[in-house]
């Protein structure tokens, strides 16, 4: 009985979330648009995430290089290190790790912010003042998140590769030009484009989940905390599911 109830609850929540998401294409697609708030959210979501994404990216590239190098040395193919690291970062690790960091920072922030607004009736206040709170709060954040994560990912990839360069030069001496030329010669359309496209879906998933959880937060401080927490967890799960689907699609199209 408990399993039946939980299953029913799961599908019920999925239905509510689908309806919440569909409003983005019905309500929010029509003018007037909240352009000023959208720009403000781009600044908050994108620009303010730069330091964390940059730091994480650098460490990611550095650590990956240091971990891979011994194995490649063992097999005598350490010269392939830049290429291997480059492909791994651009195709998979850069987008996924950046998205997970994004989910932790932005997903929780949106969930907590909107949850807090919900329990203090600020969303109701917005609605009774004749402003569509979905357009002002949700649509702006979702569009900003969808557009900013690809930008952040590109930056994270670039800084990761620089971190990888530093990692390579810990144990050996490689010129900056040689390192990056090796990577750029090897990277193909099939490495870059699918990875770039899936970051839009990651950004959308993180933003819409954060907004949904916050907008439907239950009352009290515990409700707000739960919203922030579940926003991160659910976003992370969606990131992996989207990544899995992306890999399958690229495999079908022969881009792997």
């Amino acid at each position: 009985m408990d399993i039946v109830a939980k299953t029913r609850d799961f599908f019920s929540q999925a239905g509510y979330m689908a309806r919440f998401t569909s409003q983005l294409f019905t309500l929010a697609a029509k003018p007037p648009y909240e352009f000023k708030e959208f720009l403000a959210q781009c600044y908050i979501i994108g620009y303010r995430s730069l330091p964390l994404v940059a730091l994480t990216g650098f460490i990611m590239g550095l650590v990956l290089t240091m971990q891979l190098r011994p194995s490649l040395v063992y097999y005598g193919v350490q010269s392939q290190l830049p290429v291997m690291v480059g492909i791994a970062i651009v195709r998979e690790i850069g987008p996924v790790i950046t998205a997970l960091i994004f989910a932790g920072k932005i997903g929780s922030s949106i969930g907590a912010e909107l949850g807090s607004m919900k329990v203090t009736e600020q969303i109701d206040a917005m609605e009774v003042s004749g402003t569509n709170p979905y357009k002002y709060l949700v649509a702006t954040r979702v569009v900003a998140g969808t557009l900013m994560l690809p930008v952040l990912t590109m930056l994270a990839d670039a800084i990761s590769l620089f971190g990888a360069y530093v990692g390579v030069n810990i144990s050996a001496v490689t010129s900056f030009r040689l390192f990056f030329m090796q990577i750029l010669k090897t990277l193909e359309f099939g490495d870059v484009l699918p990875a770039f496209i899936k970051t839009f879906f990651f950004g959308f998933a993180v933003s819409i989940v954060g907004c949904y959880k916050g907008y439907n937060s239950s009352r009290g401080t515990r409700g707000v905390g739960d919203s922030a927490n579940t926003a991160v967890v659910l976003s992370s799960v969606f990131i992996f599911i989207i990544d899995l689907l992306a890999v399958q699609i690229t495999a079908i199209w022969g881009l792997n």
């Binding site: 009736e121 600020q122 206040a125 009774v128 004749g130």
Partner: protein, 239 residues
């Protein structure tokens, strides 16, 4: 201004409003009195469209609220102000931005100077001209209530709905809020529904009192009329 006919609203097995009837006349302060949890806040949230009634009709300026489309309801809401019990100030915005928010959304033709003048006028109305650049978290409870009142009034609504305007305030601040309610009523000739169980507030602000009991409008009349009532249910509020 507002006509409510046979309004019903339930939450599960809790029937909050049962065939509730009420009328708000032009330029009057109508206080809806009732016990905590009797459905007073539910009533005004149904009027403004935040809650959808189960049945019945709410006619505001000749429009049936339930039958309005979203953009029509948004237009109607610009004529109705709502003062939340929790104030509901936007805590990521300054006081100035809180007051500018509804202006920028509905009165697009205003210049920046006109917006600034309206904001300062609204703040001066509540004697808080110096708080424009403060954040809501920096305000005391009484100040926050006055700023919320200023924001409620800034679009010059014809009807104002007050949800427990003096609850949680000290007696002196409560009397200040009552004074502001009456001052703004006189200045802007508004009609108001005030939800309260604070008898001093009821006495000071009401032109007419309606008692909400068991989901219905149990009794109506002036404060003095109800105070003299021999009905046990009415008398218990005035003891």
């Amino acid at each position: 201004m507002i006509v409510i006919n046979n309004l019903c609203k339930s939450f599960g097995n809790n029937h909050v409003l049962k065939n509730f009837n009420l009328r708000l006349n032009s330029k009057e302060n109508l206080v809806v009195l009732g016990r905590s949890g009797s459905g007073k806040s539910v009533l005004i949230k149904c009027i403004i469209g935040l809650l959808i009634p189960d049945s019945g009709e709410i006619i505001v300026f000749g429009n049936n609220v339930s039958g309005l489309r979203h953009h029509e309801l948004d237009m109607l809401r610009t004529e109705i102000g709502f003062l939340f019990q929790s104030n509901a100030l936007y805590d990521s915005m300054t006081v100035r931005e809180n007051l500018e928010f509804p202006l920028r959304r509905h009165w697009f033709e205003l210049t920046q100077k006109e917006v600034d003048d309206m904001v300062m006028e609204a703040l001066e109305n509540v004697n808080l001209g110096h708080t424009a650049e403060m954040m809501p978290a920096e305000l005391s409870g009484g100040m926050a209530k006055r700023i919320a009142l200023a924001r409620t009034m800034i679009l010059r609504p014809k009807i104002i709905l007050y949800d427990e305007p003096t609850t949680g305030l000290d007696p002196i601040t409560a009397r200040e809020i009552e004074g502001l309610i009456l001052k703004l009523h006189d200045k802007y000739q508004t009609s108001s529904i005030i939800i309260s169980h604070d008898m001093t507030c009821v006495k000071n602000t009401a032109d007419r009192v309606a008692l909400l009991l068991d989901g219905k409008c149990y009794s109506e009349g002036s404060f003095e009329d109800l105070k003299k009532s021999g009905d046990e249910h009415v008398k218990q509020f005035f003891e």
